[in-house]
């Protein structure tokens, strides 16, 4: 019994400790995402990018408040283990601090319930949902921000990206006419990307769909699926799966000698994970992505993030962009930064984000839609010799 009492006391003490910290003028932005499990690298990179961006903003003087004074940005980061329950607990915890806005989460299956507990429509007095602006950097499943008017996302628009990929392929490989799909069927994002995005965009660009193979998130044997793929003998094979099964399928394709003219991958797989798992088999795979170190600014962001032990990819660089977008929104909306005004400031940030139609981004201007989603510039990268190399800039 003593142990339990101690445990409870500790739990409360730990909760209290995080809220008590305020010396000079500062404003808090909270990041959250997965820092455990197979998606751990997302959280590490996202946190590093946020810290790096805050560091850069603070060195340049910080954020200008309504009264003309300057405040430093303080970043904290929470691990939600990619589970709905912890995601909800974390956002409630963040809402209980003086944090002005939350950046996250990593997983679409966390974003769904998280946006669900937010207030659906602002100023709806009958809706007791949480009133906390959330500016998502990673969770990418199509159409999520529609769930709540407090939810914003700065994630690539897969519709636009894959539309462009197939359009570009038409010109680049005019002899390729048929498409075959492979999809990780039980994961929200990859599933939606194939069934809602890739399939639709391929047919819209006059490709003939020859079929699809399905597998599950933690499958390991792909012999049957790849055999179907081989029989279809399509010119283009599009794989909508995360690195682990992408690698498994690519290895099986090599075994069975399936060599399509063009190989397309899921945007989340354009990371180092795929290269760690199967650089040799991924050779030649084309993926649209919203980040690559192609200009001075993008390279600088990557270097800055590396100093905080994270690597730059399309997801972590969205977190980086979010920090700068938030800085300008906070200055435009003249937030007070006072601890007593937290809720009013949160509302101002929400309204500011909702008003935005364009934001600066590392690859160029991001436009923003009515449903609080982004339309970001993108590039096509290809796996070459264990690296992702930019092969085309459609813009």
């Amino acid at each position: 019994m003593k142990k339990i009492a101690l445990a409870i006391a500790l739990a409360f003490a730990a909760g209290a400790a995080s809220t008590a910290q305020a010396q000079e003028k500062s404003i808090r932005i909270s990041g959250f995402g997965a820092k455990s499990g197979v998606v751990r690298s997302f959280g590490i990179n996202g946190e590093a990018a946020m810290l790096a961006a805050a560091d850069q903003i603070n060195k340049a003087g910080g954020v200008k408040l309504a009264d003309g004074s300057k405040a430093r940005i303080v970043v904290d980061y929470y691990d939600d283990r990619c589970t709905a329950e912890e995601g909800i607990s974390v956002i409630r915890r963040i809402a209980g601090t003086d944090s002005l806005v939350a950046v996250g989460p990593t997983c679409s299956n966390v974003a769904e319930p998280l946006f669900g507990i937010l207030q659906k429509k602002v100023d709806d007095k009958g809706d007791s949902g949480l009133q906390m602006p959330v500016f998502t950097d990673v969770a990418i499943k199509v159409g999520l921000a529609r769930i709540s008017e407090w939810a914003f996302r700065n994630v690539p628009n897969e519709m636009t990206m894959y539309s462009s990929v197939f359009y570009w392929l038409r010109g680049k490989h005019p002899q390729a006419k048929t498409v075959y799909g492979g999809v990780e069927e039980d994961f929200a994002h990859s599933r939606a990307t194939w069934h809602v995005v890739m399939k639709d965009r391929a047919t819209a660009n006059n490709y003939t769909l020859l079929g699809e193979s399905k597998w599950l998130l933690n499958d390991t044997n792909f012999a049957t699926q790849v055999r179907e793929m081989k029989k279809a003998n399509a010119d283009v094979v599009a794989i909508s799966a995360h690195p682990f099964t992408t690698c498994g399928v690519l290895k099986e394709m090599q075994r069975q000698g399936v060599k399509p003219k063009v190989l397309i991958g899921l945007t989340s797989s354009s990371s180092m994970e795929t290269m760690q798992g199967c650089a040799k088999q991924a050779e030649g795979m084309i993926i649209p992505t919203s980040y690559a170190p192609v200009n001075k600014e993008a390279k600088a962001a990557s270097d800055a993030t590396a100093k905080f032990k994270g690597s730059a990819d399309l997801h972590s660089m969205a977190a980086w962009e979010n920090m700068f977008i938030l800085k300008s929104v906070m200055e435009d909306m003249k937030i007070s930064g006072a601890k007593a005004e937290v809720q009013a400031d949160r509302r101002k940030i929400r309204d500011g984000l909702a008003k935005l139609r364009t934001t600066p981004g590392l690859l160029g201007v991001n436009s923003r839609t009515e449903d609080r989603e982004a339309d970001k510039p993108y590039l096509f990268v290809q796996a070459k010799g264990g690296q992702w190399v930019v092969i085309h800039n459609p813009l």
């Binding site: 455990s36 597998w215 760690q276």
Partner: protein, 292 residues
Amino acid sequence: MLDLLQSASDGVLYGATYALIGIGFTLVFGVMHKINMAYGAASVGGAYLGLMVLKLGAGLPVPLVFFGSFLAGGLLGWMVYLACFHFIPLSSPLATLMSTVGMLLLIDEVIVHTTDGMPQNYPALFDDVMLRFGEFTLRGDLLLVFLVSVACMAGLLALLYRTRLGLATRAVSQQAIAAQLCGIRLAQVNVTTFVITGLLGGIAGAMIGAAVGTLSPLLTTPLTVKGLIVTVIGGLGSVPGAIVAGLLVGGFENVIQLYRGVTERDLYVMLLLFAFLVFRPGGLFAPAGGRN
């Protein structure tokens, strides 16, 4: 017809990995009448540790990685025994069930922390070999896994029936107290069993790594579930049963996948299991007159 044959044979070969995990579960159950839920995770952990051989000394031959996994598996088996079984009284089966679940989570998380959860390329032997008979093909690397698991079973059976250690193990599994009265040191037999199953788990982990080509913490839960299913279908405590059941489940799920698709595949595996529990609760190779 060829499709069916091909799917079945692919599945049966792949089932060899399930069989290897199943043997470990069944062996521990046979001796201690307890489940070691951490077994699948420890096996994968062994494979990860083996991979460090490659990281430490680049250019070393691939079999050394497998050997490293084998030794690491034994070490992990011993650690699992110490942490989850040694200090917990035999009369609390629920406690060891839970402690091994905790161990499973711990091993998973240690893997995640050392690799940031990223999949790791695992070397394979004969992965470029495909035996072809017209349209029909067999994976060379899976044939190797298959042969290894058969060799493991032969080795285990020899160990159980031809050595003094095996005699002691079987004695403990049949009547622990009587065995103790005959001067067999219970704790020693138990720890030896764990080290042996651990070594086996290391091989299993290495073979699974080789068959999949990639290591990831995602492997542990499905392996644990498949291993348990195989153990039950094969008959608790029966080593040959685990092997046959592993191959059977592998073949069965692949054939179902061919006809019913991947989303329904596991549903039918569960139904198969249910059928076994109802019609043949003792499993394929029910030990004659065994207890429990």
